[in-house]
């Protein structure tokens, strides 16, 4: 009967495993979303995720490709393949399947989704989980700003877009496109909510530098109303920024774009980048990929893309504006001087020694150094995104220079433009315009009427050159027709084909792109 015992033992052994727990497994290494929002720390992490898409290289790429390269300020350049690849967009004949077109849409909505998750997740948290209710409100307001910011970026590039104002959880949900004015109405209402709860820049702890501030929300409100041509509101919000005394113009224009100038007195919203040893993939780094795009080709590891045009150079020259020109445009000779400094030193050493062979060699070396610079289509590079060799990251995608998205100078110019548009505001307009001009040692503008407005428009071009605002300005001012091959029908980018394909009628193609191929 010993046998029976063994058999029973075997028969009963499964009871050990039959408890429900044995089959209840979870994905390891990741927390499930239903238990996530349970501390202030994790609320902060959730908001960081919402910020993270702003620095995504695909988002930033589209930011300048649309804002700067489409305009008369820049050509795409890079290799023949790079240049040819962008050509359809440059000639306003882009197709809905283009990577840039798809990526700007895709990444912006990812940022919106993350922001909505943060807003809803944090809102549902008990106040007691936070050090203070104001922190909870602030975090929600930060996420709300980010959600508005991505809508703002989308509406500027695509026109009619779907408004996503909540965390979408079921695959059957559908949202159609809204009119541009409705999108801006959503953006401004969100920003108004956000600015109420956001701290001033000075109210943040130092460790929070880089988070969105009340000033940032107000500045984007002003700019949004500028696009909507609601001048009173634009002026009022710009005035709130000015009156806050949180910002001032940096006395040195060039200093704004230096490493020392990061998050400086003039900075209202800025993307921070650093050089990380561990984050090297294009999709997971916090380095500035855009610098890689724009560094001169082959003489550095850069691609030589987004080269400023001679047209922009001429504009600086015509305005007699050397300060901003020198800070914005890096000339070919400057590239040689910086990148080939060793070879120049060698040449002067050889010349001092008087050794003819050494001089010849140094000259040959210098020439072959210069020959390395390729596909230099305009003779200029974007100096605001340029990083000197000694500061340059050895990891090509990891340059540490920040990108400035909103500066106090622009708020002044918005204020100036809005004032000039309302009756009796010209004196105020000139005052603010001339603050910006004084900083770069340019004489005051005394014009009025349309001449004053034109002066403000030109000031915007020169002040914001290389900062991806030019095409947006040309569009809103009705001046985009100066661009070759521009057409009203294709002034915005098409809706990505992938979006048209996957949706079931709620998303339609922008009218200029319907039909044909």
């Amino acid at each position: 009967m010993k046998t029976i015992k063994y058999i029973l033992a075997i028969l009963l052994m499964p009871a050990l495993f039959a408890c429900e727990d044995f089959l209840d497994r979870e994905k390891l290494g990741e927390e499930t979303s239903d238990v996530y929002f349970n501390s202030q720390e994790k609320a902060i992490h959730s908001v960081s995720a919402a910020y993270s898409d702003i620095k995504d290289y695909r988002f930033c790429w589209a930011w300048w490709a649309f804002g700067e390269t489409l305009s008369d300020n820049a050509v795409y350049s890079g290799s023949d393949g790079d240049q040819a690849g962008f050509e359809p967009l440059k000639t306003f004949n882009g197709t809905p399947d283009m990577g840039l077109v798809t990526n700007k849409w895709r990444i912006s909505y990812r940022g919106i989704n993350k922001a909505s998750q943060a807003i809803e997740g944090i809102s549902a948290m008990n106040d007691a989980l936070f050090a203070s209710v104001s922190i909870k409100k602030r975090l929600i307001a930060e996420a709300r700003f980010i959600r508005a910011f991505f809508h703002y970026e989308l509406v500027r590039a695509y026109g009619r877009i779907p408004i996503s104002d909540h965390f979408i959880k079921t695959a059957s949900e559908k949202i159609g496109q809204s009119e541009i004015s409705d999108v801006f109405a959503f953006i401004t209402s969100e920003l108004e909510l956000a600015q109420a709860d956001l701290p001033l820049k000075s109210e943040y702890d130092a460790a929070d530098l880089g988070r969105v501030t009340k000033g940032a929300a107000q500045a984007y409100l002003a700019k949004s109303y500028m696009y909507m041509k609601e001048w009173d509101a634009a002026r009022d919000w710009a005035k709130k920024v000015i009156d806050s005394k949180e910002y001032s113009l940096d006395p040195s224009y060039a200093h704004i774009f230096s490493f020392d100038g990061e998050h400086g007195v003039e900075s209202i919203f800025e993307i921070s980048f650093y050089n990380s040893e561990t984050e090297t993939s294009a999709f997971s780094n916090n380095g500035n990929f855009q610098t890689l795009f724009m560094l001169p080709r082959n003489i550095t590891y850069g691609y030589g893309i987004n080269q400023p045009t001679e047209n922009l150079y001429d504009a600086f020259m015509a305005a007699n504006d050397p300060v901003r020109m020198n800070a914005s445009l890096l000339t070919t000779q400057e590239v040689y001087d910086i990148e080939l400094a060793d070879l120049y030193t060698a040449l002067s050493a050889a010349q001092e020694s008087g050794d003819a062979a050494a001089i010849t060699k140094a000259q040959t070396d210098l020439q072959s150094g210069k020959d390395r610079l390729q596909f230099n289509r305009t003779g200029f590079y974007n100096e605001k995104m340029y990083v000197h060799p000694e500061k340059r990251s050895s990891e090509i995608r990891n340059n540490p220079n920040n990108i400035r998205l909103m500066r106090y100078a622009e708020v002044l110019l918005i204020y100036a433009e809005a004032s000039a548009q309302v009756s009796g505001g010209e004196a105020e307009a000139r005052a603010k315009l001339n603050m910006v001009r004084d900083r770069v040692q340019l004489p005051d503008v005394t014009a009025s009427g349309q001449a004053l407005l034109d002066a403000i428009y030109l000031e915007r071009r020169l002040e914001l050159a290389g900062e991806s605002d030019r095409y947006h300005d040309l569009l809103r001012l009705g001046k985009a027709s100066i661009l070759p091959k521009w057409s009203e029908a294709k002034k915005y980018w098409p809706v990505p084909q992938a979006e048209i394909d996957v949706t079931t009628g709620e998303i339609s193609q922008n009218p200029g792109y319907v039909g044909g191929n």
């Binding site: 996530y36 909505y109 990812r110 993350k114 959880k169 695959a171 079931t504």
Partner: protein, 1010 residues
């Protein structure tokens, strides 16, 4: 707990006979030509664990009782039984058994006589395939079994194959379940083919339902070699050496040809290439630069035998293969021990132990941008490999950013070291005669170490690494299975045969990985290629997955009068992989058989030795769904970081990035099978016919969601269904002409028909991505992963043709010229748009077949084996480069481009500013992928027995063989055997983006038995 588990079962082995007086029997076993047969198993019917084996002269001697029955067994011969009946000398003449109907084959948790099987089960005697120099078991199965399609994804040493049983049942993982000596495993690549005795493939649901939620894609049962009781040690040594070369090359232009084409293109380019930077007469054959003639070897040593209580089989093996592409190789060491110990008449314990290690170096494949083979095909021939070889400076493409493939190979130091441990122990006890309880515990563990070191190097701005980097990725996989099975077999009233099996199993697996990398090793000495030596950038990540499964299973076999057969299988699986409420799945099957030839009315039909009709139905599942795809989790990738503060330190963001469906369940396959097995002409011809219909329901598909939802991926939901149907025929004919000469011919063919019935939203799924888009599409009404794009219709010959054609450029075809490619207006709306994209072909063949033939004359053996597929297409992704009006290398076809003087051609005019989008995904790149290949040809010679025994050996065979010597195909690439781009890229089947071609192999081998 209640529901999952159960037990009971009974196994009736042969009836115990009462003991009688002891007696020694001797004798000689010969064949019908009176030739002595060595190696015949002689066992007592009363106790098959007691036995012996005939010696070289066919002689045996065995202790038995006077009233026992002796059973004589030899592979290839019919079993014979003789009552001892008091005799002391029993000489036996064995008859050649043509197709082993009485052979016992594995059917999952038990065995069955082949003649009693009602499902569709293919059985492969692996020892017959052992002359082929194949690295892996699945390679050896290619073309051997109707309905089993084996395709190499790559020709790389140690590379993966995809095995598809009865078509492609799902857009997800359609790999079959592999079961090695009862242990479920994910793949069988690591096993040494020399250790395998036989393979059974359960093709239809009525056979595979016993594996329940894992049976949907078929089940491959692998049985390894075991020893025999009371047998002297049999020692054998097998070895071969082979040389391999690339099967074929791409037809790319020479340097001067390329240069000429570029000069022509320059005439129409808006910014012409500066060709002066290249030498017109430089001619680098990049493909030659990366290929080589490579050796391969295999050596195996095996000892097997048994005492009266114990059997054993042990082997060691070493295999090594260098790839025909430089930088790729694979080597493997295997150790195997199988043993069984008969503690008593009723109680047996035993174990199987496999230990295997391998080392693999790979080249980059599967990348349509920088894959090594891909770049070697498309790089311009006018660039030399070296700029300055003496100083080790590589040259590079002047106009593209594609890397120099020779440099790529040099700077790739990745290697994989893998350890596989597979083993089980079992105990089996006969409770009462016929009722056996077996419990078995198995462990399957693997460890994979991936090493890499990327030195700092500079080829050019596009191919460089500024700081050296060392990385180490470690994965570990542990899976245990505990099975308990009761088996009962009994015959009632001499006409009712019952076999009942009941069991339960518990399984649990854990998988864990850690990836690490660091930078800046102070010097690049190989001794420092470890993370500890590197200075900067600790980068570590890792995670784990657990799965658990509890199952109850059962089978009833019933046979009435040995004429009417019925089999019922049932399995319930409860799996951790599914959400609460959907964890449990039931998988039933029923099959019926009718041995027509046993009927009285058939007794006069002499040409028919046996015939059996089978019908079967079953439902099975597919649980290959990845790790917990229904759980909404917070991701914390480095991508979701953001920087704050004056020091710019990051805060790690956490967020949901994939939408989830919380209600997913099993994919279910429902299949029907009708089959016929027949043996004709005194056993000379063996035929099997099967027709099947297999519907996959609730197929899990990633539901496409709008980009504006803001997720990185959509939910996976049970929304699809797929139908596969086909006909399978296999015929084998053997003729023994005389004592010195026999031959055999075999043929198998299977047809395939695959149709997607539903994919839920109706939104087509794209796949097979290459640099210009997607080559495949999966949608309702078509086969899985068919090729989709524009149709072309040659080139415009005249302006009139352009004017008459549908609008394919601008608003009125202005800009088109004679010589431009003509796209077909499929939709008929007068304009060429996306709507005109259509079906261009399918990677799934209409039919696949294998033909083998062998003959033996005295000591000589000759074997031929052909394998082929017909009616499938290949998307030639490389031609999208080679036909493009760009700087990459060009196809020789481009030399025949249209010109006003050369109009009789389909190749469009060379156009450097192509606004016609000539290279869009079209039928220009879809080619007939059919092929017939002489897979193996072998000539072997068995040294005369007298000679062999004079030097103290039992048998010696030498052979030469050739693999892949001859292929008929219309495909223009290097090799028409195109699997998937990568192992898990299921919708990239048949897409060639520079597939590692198969090798032509010449082998010399020897087999020695001591």
């Amino acid at each position: 707990m209640k529901k999952y588990l159960l037990i009971l079962f009974v196994l009736c082995w042969l009836p115990l006979l009462s003991q009688a007086q002891s007696n020694t029997v001797t004798g000689v076993v010969t064949d019908q030509d009176n030739f002595p047969l060595p190696g015949v198993n002689v066992v007592l019917k009363s106790n098959p664990t007691i036995g012996t084996i005939t010696d070289i002269d066919g002689k045996y001697s065995i202790n038995t009782s006077t009233n026992d029955v002796l059973v004589f067994r030899l592979i290839g011969m019919e079993n014979q039984e003789t009552a001892v009946d008091g005799r002391n000398v029993i000489n036996i003449i064995m008859q050649a058994e043509f197709f082993g109907l009485d052979e016992v084959v594995a059917v999952g948790y038990g065995v069955q006589r082949k003649s009693d099987i009602t499902g569709s089960v293919a059985s492969v005697d692996f020892t017959e395939l052992e002359n082929q120099p194949v690295a892996t078991i699945d390679q050896a199965l290619q073309g051997r079994v109707a309905g089993v399609q084996v395709t190499a994804n790559t020709g790389a040493p140690g590379g993966s194959l995809s095995m598809r049983i009865r078509g492609i049942g799902t857009i997800n993982n359609a790999d079959p379940l592999y079961v090695v000596d009862g242990i479920p495993v994910d793949d069988i690549n690591f096993l040494n083919p020399n250790d395998i005795a036989s393979i059974e493939i359960l093709k239809d649901a009525s056979a595979s339902a016993i594996y329940g939620s894992r049976g949907a894609n078929g089940v491959v049962l692998v049985s390894s070699k075991r020893g025999t009781l009371n047998t002297a040690a049999k020692v054998s040594f097998n070895a071969y050496y082979a040389t391999q070369s690339v099967i074929n090359k791409w037809e790319t232009t020479t340097g001067p040809e390329w240069y000429g084409i570029q000069e022509t293109l320059n005439q129409t380019r808006t910014s012409p290439l500066d060709l002066s930077v290249l030498d017109r007469n430089q001619n680098t054959d990049w493909f030659d630069e990366i290929t080589r003639v490579a050796p391969m070897y295999d050596a195996n040593f095996n000892v097997s035998g048994g005492s009266e209580k114990m059997t054993y089989s042990m082997s060691v093996g070493a295999f090594g293969q260098d790839g025909t592409i430089k930088g790729s190789d694979y080597s493997r060491r295997t150790l195997k021990l199988n043993s069984d110990y008969h503690v008593s008449d009723k109680f047996t314990v035993g174990s199987n132990i496999n230990i295997q290690t391998n080392e693999q170096h790979s080249i980059l494949e599967g990348s349509y941008h920088t894959g090594v083979i891909n770049t070697a095909i498309k790089l311009e021939p006018n660039v030399p490999v070296w700029k300055d070889k003496a100083n080790h400076v590589y040259d590079y493409s002047r106009f593209t950013d594609y890397p120099n493939p020779v440099a790529q190979i040099e700077y790739d130091n990745s290697k994989d070291l893998r350890l596989n441990l597979l083993g089980n122990i079992y105990a089996q006890y006969e409770l009462i005669p016929g009722l056996t309880l077996k419990t078995s515990y198995s462990q399957n563990s693997s460890r994979n170490d991936a090493y890499n070191f990327v030195p700092a190097y500079f080829v050019n701005v596009n191919q460089q690494n500024v700081e050296n980097e060392v990385s180490r990725d470690y994965t570990k996989n542990d899976y245990w299975t505990w099975e308990n099975v009761l088996n009962f077999n009994r015959t009632f009233a001499s006409r009712h045969d019952f076999g009942v099996m009941i069991g339960y199993t518990v399984e649990e697996g854990t998988y864990e990985w850690v990836n690490t990398s660091k930078k800046n090793v102070p010097n690049e000495d190989e001794a420092l290629w470890y993370p500890g030596a590197a200075a900067d950038g600790d980068n570590v990540t890792g995670s784990a997955t657990e799965v658990a499964l509890i199952s109850g299973l059962g089978r009833i076999n019933y046979s009435f009068d040995n004429k009417y057969l019925a089999t019922v299988n049932f399995r319930m699986d409860a799996s951790s992989r599914f959400p609460k409420g959907n964890k449990l799945g039931s998988f039933p099957s029923v099959a019926l058989g009718w041995k027509v030839s046993e009927e009285a009315f058939m007794s006069d039909v002499n040409w028919l030795s046996s015939m059996k009709l089978r019908v079967g139905w079953g439902q099975i599942g597919n649980n290959n769904i990845g790790a917990y795809p229904y759980q909404t989790t917070m991701s914390g990738n480095a991508q979701y970081r953001y920087l704050y503060g004056p020091d710019e330190s990051f805060d790690q963001g956490y967020v949901v990035v994939n939408m989830r469906d919380q209600n997913i369940k099993w994919e279910t396959v429902e299949s029907y099978n009708v089959g016929l097995d027949a043996v004709l002409f005194d056993g000379r011809l063996d035929a099997t016919l099967d027709w099947y219909l297999k519907d996959t329901k609730d197929m899990l598909i990633g539901v496409p969601i709008p980009l504006y939802f803001g997720y990185e991926g959509g939910p996976i939901s049970n929304v699809g269904s797929v139908r596969n149907k086909g006909l399978e025929v296999s015929l084998n004919y053997r003729e023994r002409v005389n004592k010195d000469f026999n031959y055999n011919v075999g043929f198998n063919i299977s047809t395939y028909n695959n149709e997607v019935l539903s994919i839920g939203s109706g939104q087509p799924i794209t796949g097979g991505s290459y640099y210009l888009g997607s080559a495949t599409r999966t949608e309702e009404g078509q086969s899985i992963g068919y090729f989709y794009g524009y149709k072309t219709d040659g080139v415009f010959q005249t302006q009139q043709e352009i004017n008459d054609h549908a609008i394919q450029m601008g608003t009125d075809n202005t800009g088109l010229q004679p010589g431009d490619l003509k796209f077909v207006d499929v939709s008929g709306d007068g304009t060429i748009t996306d709507d005109d994209r259509t079906f261009l072909g399918s990677p799934i063949p209409d039919f696949a077949y294998g033909i083998n033939a062998g003959l033996n004359y005295k000591g000589l053996e000759f074997n031929l084996f052909f394998q082929g597929v017909q009616g499938n297409e290949i998307f030639n992704g490389m031609k999208t480069h080679l036909y493009k009006f760009d700087e990459t290398n060009k196809h020789k076809d481009m030399l025949n481009s249209w010109t006003p003087q050369n109009t009789n051609t389909d190749m469009p005019r060379l156009n450097g500013s192509d606004a016609n989008n000539t290279n869009r995904t079209s039928d220009r790149f879809v080619e007939d992928g059919s092929y017939l290949r002489l897979k193996n040809i072998t000539l072997g010679y068995n040294l005369p027995r007298t000679l062999v025994s004079s030097i103290g050996l039992e048998a010696v065979k030498v052979y030469v063989s050739g693999q892949n010597l001859w292929t008929i195909t219309n495909y223009s690439g290097a090799d028409p055997e195109i699997g998937q781009v990568t192992t898990t890229n299921y919708l990239s089947r048949g897409v060639d983006i520079g597939t590692y071609p198969q090798a032509q192999i010449y082998t010399f081998g020897i087999k020695v038995q001591f």
